[in-house]
Amino acid sequence: MNLTLLILLPLLTAVLILLAKGLQQIRVIGLIGALAQLGLAGWLLKRFLDQRAAGNTAAHLFESNQTWFKALNINYHIGIDGISLAMILLTSVIVIAGILVSWSMDKLSKEYFFLLVLLSMGAYGFFISLDLFTLFFFLEVAVIPKFLLIGIWGSGDKTKSAMKLALMLMGGSALVMVGLFGIYYNTHTFDMVQITQQGIPVGVQKFFFPFAFLGFGVFAALFPFHTWVPDGHASAPTAASMFLAGISMKLGGYGCLRIAALMPDAAHTYSWIIILLATIAIIYGAFATMMQTDLKYINAYSSISHCGFVILGIGMLNKTSLNGAVIQMVSHGLMTALFFAAIGMIYSRTHTRMVAQLGGLLKAMPFISTVFVIAGLCSLGLPGFSGFVAEMTVFMGSWQNPEGAYRIATILSGASIVVTAVYILRATGRAIMGPISNEHALLSDATWNEKLAAVLLITGILIIGLAPFLINHLIIPSTDAIVLQMGKVNLLK
């Protein structure tokens, strides 16, 4: 099984899109490509589970390692473990959904779909790479498409948002770069596997961990580097918002996880800072959301709050919390994508995202409203949806740290679920329920492609929410490996 296919397939799709003529061809090609990606990811999953079942306990499967820049000892080293596989599956699902919701994008459609596909390619490459250089490479590959997508097809103050997003993300990756150099010159390799084996001197870790972690933190909307999130998401076209929140922010979380795994000592040293920032992000994001009046801003800020859980899980540095972080990444990816999809559908019909101007949509567009409500319920962590599983796992993990301060952090983060309930229900109560205005009463419900996209994402959410043991089965071995290698395994007494 050659993982490079995951990069080549989107590349091929992109090229074909460039050659295609007319919206119809383009979107069909895009959809086929996306389906192929999903198929590939699914097949990968099957192969992965088979191998594990066959007793292959290697940390990374389907590894392949080619020398790239011999002089600099840079290798093209790819391979996946459970975590990356989960991320890959997430990406493939969101890509399909994204292409489906932008089915009728007639403005510069060729470029639009081209960039979408390019973005997905970046994500895949990022998740499969085991070499810090390629990791960094793909991290930045994903930035430019975002800039163009937001700047060209966005709404509102789009160029400003696009610029802000691009610059802050570049700033983040600049920090990452410095961190990577530090690692490189103290281990003479970029290869994560090798680095894990030979370890990094503690002093070096302590010096370079902040660079790398904060750098990725910017991508993961870590407080106080989250300010690109609201504007970026709000200005982006629907599919781009879905990709941003669903995939790109996960690049950050994933990167933080890997960095923490590479520099365990530093991670332990700084964990209190990480947890502090995460807790602030959770609470602060939640309260900031409560004050928003624009649906997209509501979801953007809530994303900050939810991604805080990812960071919190990582910061707590034990098996359960790391599981929680990973599940939360997947869950939040699906959930927020669904949310943005619903908001996009509403916006494309009512041409407003202001909660105050909406109302009673449940009457005019029951399907979309139901989707919206489901996304909302998932976001406030209702059992049966993925959000519950993820958040509870994070809580459970965090609670395992007996230190009082960590307890308080956990309780505070827990308190955010109440605030979440408040803002979700306010938005739902105003926009979906209540009396409907006359001009909205006649609007049409979702079309087949929108329905398909929503159903796809909801299925994902339900699979995790109803059968969490499946995803656990996938990721727990990997997190175990990480935790063992970090030399700190916390279990309940």
Partner: protein
């Protein structure tokens, strides 16, 4: 012991109904949705009766003690070895008892709704939600794992939310649903943290194991949790109190009760099911479920006791002043649940001292029937007059005889007049209170009197006081007939429930449901029961003289009470306090500052960076003066600086 796995079908059938109706109901099945829902629930009901028979009369008892049987245990989400959420089915007296209660009441409501909700646009959706609720409630009852309880706890909450906001285009209904969900959510936070504490020290989330570990005084878990303390209270106390907080939220105990009266915005059958019979007693059930652990911690039990007692009295007082009949019923519910709570609080675990526990469960059992009867009765009244206000009613006894009779029976039952159901259960509670705690006994007694008073105030205001109003006749805006009491599907449940309200009291409850499973001998002491009965009768007579036919007496009395009356009428301003905290404190002092800070400080800092950069570049542009001579000078300056710098460094 034999296999109880078929119990699995009892919750699963409603779930299936929910999925079916939820997906296709709206389009294809809107006609027969009600039939489908009722049919599937009927099956569950039968199954649960079968289960009850099997458990209580066939093989539940092993040498005189009812066993806890875990019929199913499936690891659903594993946090870490031996700490996991297991989906399980526990079969023991209370769970079986609750099975019967929930299924049968729910069945009644399903049947009643066939008539009551007829012609609604979202008829199928209604039944879908109803099934969802039933499923969640059953799941909650059967939970063998405390986290499983939490999950279904949340699901119950959300289905209640959905049902309250069923009339979604009515802003008041939406507001009420929001309130209900958020308040309970707040309580659930406590529940969650309680779970985390217990789970952390107990090393498991399985209720059976938790009880086992925390009840044996020498187990390491018990020692660790009691030795660890925070703010002077042991972690056990904290855990239990927080768990109870969750229960208090769902069961609308003071001060978390504010959502219950508003929840009456939902369709009346829903109120009958959720907000009278089943969901609101979940809190009581939870405490009962964890009771052995509670019994290990005196202070936690005291809190339960006094919160319960306070709520009972508080609600009863308010109930005397309300004019919306459903609100009166809501407060009476709250008051009755208060009864159950403090009954648990004063109880001990096992043996004679377990009387309170038994009584509480008994009252829960009886209350379910007569309270749902009251609500359904109120339902058919409202269905007829299209109003919740007492002033729009009166003299309906001729127009709706069956309802009248049923309602009267229910009132007598709740007032605790022998031989109606309420009498027996209340009697047990009072006995227990009398033995354990005189103060609580006093409160209980007084509350009992108040109960009879406001119930009959309600009764007379609806069915007597003035002559049959003409306004009630004719067509309502929905266009369907409102002559008489509606179709038989609405009468039948009333009759059945009325029968129960009379009959269930005679069940020798103490034989079946006790704290330790062993049968308990109870004796109805005639001398003891004189006091409460007499009091109740007096209260009824008072109500009669006030309200049987309109005379100013009641107003005079109200005037006499003056400020206290208005305070009670305004529900003692608890809502206002909450609104003050949220609207006046949290929003302006936490939310808005943060939103502002995010825009101006955090983001402002980033903006500032950009601005400074461009500002600097603006400032230094003079460097590029365009004069070639300056360029040469800068050149020479550069040379000079470098030479000074590096010849110096070189030194």
């Amino acid at each position: 012991m034999s296999n109880y796995l078929y119990i699995l079908w009892i919750p699963l059938l409603p779930l299936a109904t929910f999925v079916l109706l939820g997906l296709f109901g709206r389009k294809y099945l809107s006609g027969i949705a009600g039939i489908i829902g009722t049919a599937s629930l009927l099956t569950s009901t039968i199954l649960s009766f079968v289960a009850a028979k099997q458990y209580f009369f066939v093989d539940g008892k092993v040498n005189g003690v009812f066993q806890k049987i875990v019929a199913l245990k499936y690891t659903w989400l594993e946090f870490s070895p031996n700490v996991s959420i297991d989906l399980g089915i526990i079969v023991d007296p209370i769970s079986v008892m609750m099975l019967v209660v929930v299924t049968s009441v729910s069945l009644m409501v399903h049947v009643f709704s066939l008539g009551y909700m007829k012609g609604e646009e979202r008829f199928a959706t209604y039944y879908a939600f109803l099934s969802l609720f039933t499923f969640s409630m059953l799941g909650l009852i059967l939970s063998a794992n405390i986290f499983q309880v939490y999950m279904f706890w949340e699901l119950v909450g959300v289905s209640s939310f959905l049902l309250i906001s069923y009339y979604f285009n009515k802003p008041s209904a939406v507001a009420a649903s929001k309130k209900a969900f958020i308040v309970t959510r707040f309580a659930d936070l406590g529940f969650l943290i309680g779970i985390l504490i217990l789970g952390f020290y107990g090393g498991t989330l399985d209720i059976g194991l938790l009880i086992e570990r925390f009840t044996s005084v020498h187990s390491t878990q018990f020692l660790s949790i009691t030795s660890a303390s925070f703010l002077g209270a042991s972690m056990l106390t904290w855990g239990l109190v927080l768990v109870f907080m969750g229960g208090a939220g769902k069961s609308a105990m003071f001060p978390l009760h504010i959502w219950l009266p508003d929840a009456m915005e939902g369709p009346t059958p829903v109120s009958a099911l959720i907000h009278a019979a089943t969901m609101v007693v979940a809190g009581v059930y939870l405490v009962a479920r964890m009771f052995p652990v509670f019994s290990m911690d005196e202070s936690a039990l005291n809190i339960v006791t006094y919160v319960g007692a306070a709520s009972a009295l508080f609600a009863a007082v308010i109930a005397c002043t309300q004019t919306d009949i459903k609100r009166v019923l809501a407060y009476s519910t709250m008051s009755q649940i208060g009864y159950m709570m403090f009954a648990l609080g004063i109880s001990k675990n096992g043996g004679e001292n377990g009387l309170g526990y038994m009584a509480s469960m008994f009252h829960l059992f009886t209350h379910a029937f007569f309270k749902s009867l009251l609500f359904l009765g109120a339902g058919s009244v409202i269905h007829m007059v299209h109003s919740n206000e007492m002033k729009d009613m009166g003299g309906l006894r001729k127009l709706m005889p069956i309802t009248h009779i049923a309602f009267l029976i229910a009132c007598l039952a709740i007032a605790g007049i022998p031989p109606f159901a309420g009498f027996f259960s209340k009697e047990e509670i009072l006995t227990a209170a009398f033995h354990e705690n005189k103060i609580v006994y006093g409160i209980a007694l007084f509350t009992a009197a108040l109960t009879s008073f406001y119930m009959f105030r309600l009764y007379f205001n609806i069915f007597w006081s003035k002559e049959a109003p003409v306004a009630a006749h004719g067509h309502d805006d929905n266009g369907h007939e409102s002559h008489g009491e509606g179709p038989w599907v609405m009468k039948l449940p009333l009759l059945i429930l009325a029968a129960c309200a009379v009959g269930v009291g005679f069940i020798p409850f103490s034989q079946f449901v006790t704290s330790d499973g062993a049968a308990l001998e109870t004796h109805v002491d005639v001398v003891f029961s004189i006091a409460p009965v007499v009091l109740s009768v007096l209260a009824i007579l008072l109500a009669t003289s006030f309200y049987k036919n309109q005379n100013g007496k009641s107003d005079k009395v109200a005037a006499a009470f003056g400020g206290f009356y208005t305070a009670a009428y305004k529900k003692f301003y608890v809502d206002e306090v909450y609104i003050f905290i949220t609207k006046k404190i949290i929003f302006p002092f936490i939310g808005q500052p943060i939103a502002w800070a995010d825009k101006n400080i955090v983001d402002g800092f980033m903006q500032l960076l950009a601005k400074t950069t461009s500002k600097i570049s603006e400032l230094i542009k003079g460097l590029q003066s365009g004069k070639v001579q300056n360029y040469a000078m800068y050149f020479f300056g550069g040379v000079a600086v470098l030479s000074i710098l590096f010849i110096h460094i070189w030194k």
